[in-house]
Symmetry: C2
Subunit: 253 residues, 2 copies
DNA sequence: CCAAAGATGTTTGTATGCAACCCCGTCGCT
DNA sequence: AGCGACGGGGTTGCATACAAACATCTTTGG
């Protein structure tokens, strides 16, 4: 859904959309602050007409909230919301896997996904900075998984939620500093990919679904780990939009 | 999501949105036909600016498809897509029920839903034309169910899919002619509502989820019944948007 | 001194004019 | 005769001017 622009659109609304999203995610707007059109116009260098289209797109995307008197604010996400979004992504991916299993999938497609996953396996057996490549492969795997179900609606819903900051399939990957902690997790994830493919191949719908769900919950673990290091967290794109649990408790629960 | 307008907006974009949606659902546009802005402007009596906002809203809603060169067409739905959408609504409602069960729900809310469902029970024990009232009660029950989970994302996704023609909780109710056939179905549905509430009360997440899913599948049955009477089908709002299975086969499968 | 009405600035909503684009047919040149 | 280019109609994209809603602060009258 209006994820970016089609093609390499040079249209003003795309320009505004991209710029705005980036500025929002990098925390250049305070959480409850009212975003009026005129300031944005001069900030982004587009006129009001395309700007408004970009704004409704971002509202649809869930990054902006329309406030009563008109105007927008950047949406603030609680940790619970993020966890819910991840759980929901798991539900959707599980459903995709189940439907794929029930309906049967061509060997070509399964083969392609297997190869993607094999490449992931080779990658995490390597030493070195493979994060970028891993993210790419992982996203491709998940995107294809969703398409396996062959349902437009499912795809739409998934795109809607996976575009949310922190809810995407590779959103919470630990970056450099703590890579040691994330290494075993990636292995588990790769294994789950394989299990899903196997379940789909053998048309075991229930198994495919539950593995799909559990797989997404890996992100919950990563979320927990990340929350232990608030500074790192805040620096990640979109980090400033997250309302961290208040100073009290929750740090040693 | 941009379901109707907030408040009783007299704004032009709302006017355009409502009028357009109604005209689309009543089949006043051919399926693949290109909808250009200028004709719509004089048809709806609003200028291009609010019209375009209404168009993107309908695109987000899934009723319109943007076509490559610009402009829109009304979206055409296959029977399979409708079935998928219903299945997905079941997945979401099942998830809502499961989350509600897992997280626990206040008695007040459960009580309220029980009363709604009791009223449905009394209603279907009555003779007479209760369709309108049933639809109202049923929609309220489902809306509350979704809210029980307490997840904004889930609610958003559900609204998105329940707004689709034929995918809403009461969308495929058989109208007057065949009421006799739908009567026992309503009884089953009411019972499933009760089971869901019971499961939630007893915090039986898995049960709540599976009942929620199965409950939505009632709509699949109704869909089947409706497809036996194409004329009736075509007359329902949005009926003309559905691409019926080609003349061959499928009538006696 | 307080209250109410009005003026003023700021905001969003709407209309419209202009420019760029695309499809397509036709005309001219080779 | 074929191929290419030019131009016309129609369409969308964009910018801007204007109107209406809203808020605020001031000013004036009691």
């Amino acid at each position: 859904m209006t994820p970016a622009g089609n093609r390499s659109d040079k249209t003003q609304v795309t320009r505004a959309l991209l710029a705005l999203r980036e500025q929002i995610l990098s925390g250049q707007f305070a959480a409850g602050e009212r975003m009026s059109e005129l300031p944005l116009v001069e900030r982004l260098g587009v006129s009001r007409t395309p700007l408004r289209l970009a704004l409704v797109a971002l509202e649809h995307e869930g990054l902006l909230d329309r406030l009563p008197g008109g105007g927008y604010t950047v949406r603030e996400f609680t940790v619970t919301e993020i966890a819910d979004a991840i759980e929901l992504r798991g539900v959707l991916e599980g459903t995709a896997a189940r439907l794929a299993a029930e309906r049967g999938i061509g060997r070509r497609e399964l083969r392609a996904m297997s190869e993607l996953n094999d490449e992931i396996l080779r990658l995490i057996n390597t030493d070195g900075d493979y994060v970028t490549r891993y993210v790419d492969l992982n996203e491709r795997f998940h995107a294809r998984l969703i398409k396996l179900a062959g349902s437009v609606q499912l795809e739409r819903m998934w795109s809607g939620i996976a575009a949310l900051p922190f809810a995407g399939p590779s959103a919470l990957l630990l970056t450099e500093p703590k890579l040691s902690e994330s290494w075993p997790i990636l292995r588990v994830a790769q294994r789950q990919h394989a299990s899903m493919l196997d379940a789909i191949t053998q048309r075991q719908g229930a198994r495919a679904e539950s593995v799909g769900r559990e797989h997404a919950r890996i992100a919950l673990t990563n979320l927990d780990l990340l929350l232990r290091e608030r500074e790192t967290f805040q620096r990640m794109p979109g980090g400033s939009l997250v309302l961290l649990p208040g100073g009290a408790a929750d740090d040693h629960s």
